[in-house]
Symmetry: C3
Subunit: 316 residues, 3 copies
């Protein structure tokens, strides 16, 4: 089967989506990330792997947090990093997306990290760059956010070891979440036997079961005996929309409290991609509690992004 993110030798050439990414590639990334985590703990955060390489952060959709993590990761790999928020820029001057890409490529880009509001934009770019230029999807529309899913897998492996014995619940607005989609693909690829999605009907995609997940509409029921709880961020713009009555109402039914978390396994971990809406999808005592691994996720996220970029563009 053709996979746009692998080269003809089956090696990772772009990171666009978790869907269809072989488990071996995911494990390769997690293993490399582990090296960087270990390194950072021993006070040498920096490696010369991408020295002399030019990484372009192309954020067509604003996200300071994600952009910053990629910027840090690239700098720790010793790359030259150029971050562009592309709104007021060339596209405003009427230049097409591909003209922008070809121009940056001509400037000597080795890698594009792309965040775009349109699903599929990073694929379009990957199809048009020349050999030796790599694309990383940093979130496209409602489609995919592969580095987020990979850092989540790293976190789960770190705390739980074996994927094949786990029960994992993803809670909240699955419908609009590229994060959830990528997580589901990663979890099933890595052999998690039971992936649950929990949310109101209005926030679950129709036919989500086909992705290999069990659907719950009741949070208490869905949390029972799970090893991992992944909370999703409720987008502000949804909160007062037609799909949801109010943030308070959402919290009442789907907000994670300590009392509800007690239904999960005693050693369950709680994850969140951040930034959190405290008191909306998650209660502060849970966010800051003993089960929370939300801050380690951030730390692992840098290492995972270093691993992805290092594998894609590192010198042999």
């Amino acid at each position: 089967m053709y996979n746009p993110q692998l080269n003809k030798h089956g090696e990772l050439n772009h990171l666009l989506t978790i869907e269809g990414l072989p488990a071996a590639h995911i494990r390769q990334i997690l293993d490399r990330a582990q090296q960087y985590v270990t390194m950072a703990e021993q006070d040498s955060k920096k490696v010369p792997l991408l020295s002399g390489r030019s990484v372009f952060n192309l954020f067509f959709e604003n996200s300071t947090r994600t952009r910053t993590t990629f910027e840090i990761a690239a700098k720790r790999l010793s790359a030259d990093v150029i971050s562009l928020n592309i709104n007021a820029s060339s596209t405003a001057k009427g230049e097409t997306l591909l003209d922008t890409i070809h121009n940056l490529e001509a400037m000597g880009a080795d890698m594009f990290v792309v965040r775009h509001a349109e699903s599929g934009a990073p694929f379009l770019i990957a199809r048009h760059v020349k050999p030796g230029v790599h694309v990383v999807n940093a979130g496209d529309g409602r489609h995919a956010h592969p580095t987020q899913a990979l850092l989540d897998m790293f976190t789960i492996r770190h705390y739980k070891g074996d994927f094949t014995q786990l029960r994992v619940a993803i809670v909240g607005d699955i419908l609009h979440s590229r994060v959830a989609r990528s997580q589901i693909h990663a979890l099933t690829t890595l052999g998690v036997p039971e992936v649950r999605v929990i949310g109101p009907k209005t926030l679950l995609p129709t036919g989500v079961e086909k992705l290999g997940v069990r659907v719950f509409h009741d949070l208490r029921e869905g949390l029972r005996d799970v090893d991992v709880v992944i909370m999703l961020r409720l987008q502000n713009e949804r909160m007062n929309g037609a799909l949801l009555p109010s943030a308070q109402e959402f919290f009442k039914h789907y907000g994670l409290t300590q009392e509800k978390l007690a239904l999960a396994k005693p050693d369950a971990i709680v994850m969140h991609p951040g930034p959190m809406n405290r008191g909306v999808e998650i209660d502060s005592p849970v966010a800051d509690g003993a089960h929370s691994v939300i801050l380690p996720q951030v730390t692992f996220g840098i290492a995972v992004r270093m691993a992805v970029m290092g594998i894609l563009a590192g010198k042999q």
Copy 2:
């Protein structure tokens, strides 16, 4: 006495305020800065002291100039620098200040340089960062601007040598000035026998005498026989407010002209934190004249910020 900016060994751990900072620490910073000034003059502006370290410039209040000086200083120390203007960012997404800080910390931050409109914000941050992470106050509300005061002290020492024989006047809007507050603490700590503040009643804090200064409302009187004149910037937003009749009126009474400066000692130096309002608080012939040390202040400011960051986070 507990001092939040020193560690248990009495070493500088954060730089938050000049108030309560022992003279020995101030001198340590000035001495280190002198090394960097000497180095830069000999054409090697860069040292590897913070190589591999990550410095985050967190500017919750916009200030291109101050941000730039810290960015340059950090780069000259070979740190990786990430500058964030935090308005449109996470806090807009509803994340709390401390969540933002903890996230950046989890990304591997070694230092936060914080500018914030609220007095005390850098203290709050310093109280919550983990060991090994350092905070530098780059100006908080009306409270403090310690690196500005330190570069002013460097400048005075450079031109005048001994602090214990000096008469120093600070002129202008003392009331709203974090710079003035930090300068007063620095000058008195270093043993300046006479610190004067000069300004209209509406722009002097009540009870300012308790800080150990002499109050003057008449500029001519206040300037008489001083060694150092420190002009403050008049904030634009004050100019047409209730506290001041007009910029012209202010200049007439409190603007520094050559004729008024002639009342000071013949070898008096004139300082200003910049950016200047020429024709408001200072007349151009004075700003560009023989007594002005305003541009050397800027040069020394880089060295002083390098010194602070190097002392806080430099490798042993």
Copy 3:
């Protein structure tokens, strides 16, 4: 003759304009750029020439593309780069241009790359910086854009070799184009025997012939037997102004199509400074066709900017 961009030894001290720049200096820059092009092809994009130097990108007029090319070029020379978009910044605080410059100089700037909406601003700056500080004009008003012209000359030399046998046409809005002005000076200085300008009367400066060019109002006529076609970008703000009926109308008369290009020499090259308005000044089949050297221009642009900065501020 006094030339503000040369030092007393006749060496390049600033790059402000092509007008009056001796051919030998242009060739020196192109030759140096050739070294960087060759280097980059051999996978070492980075040189330590400006290591420890501080380059300030001062963009008083927004241009992500040009700023990015200078930023990349400076980083490939290992300089520390600070990019400032100066609108919201100091000048908004009432600081004068020269105060800003003197302040940045005091911070240890070695070079200013200046884009400004006012013609002559980089000259003003160059006149006031201290010895050892260099200024590069990155586009000033309608006056000059020397690095663009130099990269165009590099491109022409790359594809055509000898300047002294060429017929070159510049097409479009000559009147408002600093690019055209700099190109004309470069081409005539390098000995191109026939430079043509092609455009409607409303978009040609009066007396343009005095620059040593032949004027055409008819595109077909002007393109006949030329070796090089340089298309100019039509500024959006002109499109619906008094000088032009509409973008469609402009394309009909002055847009470069394959059919019109066939009138030029069979091996003619097509250039464009970018970003292109496809379907306005240039048709997509031409932009992406076999004659187009528009993307190589971008690649050469990095090398040329590295050459300029390296020659100006490189260590001896």
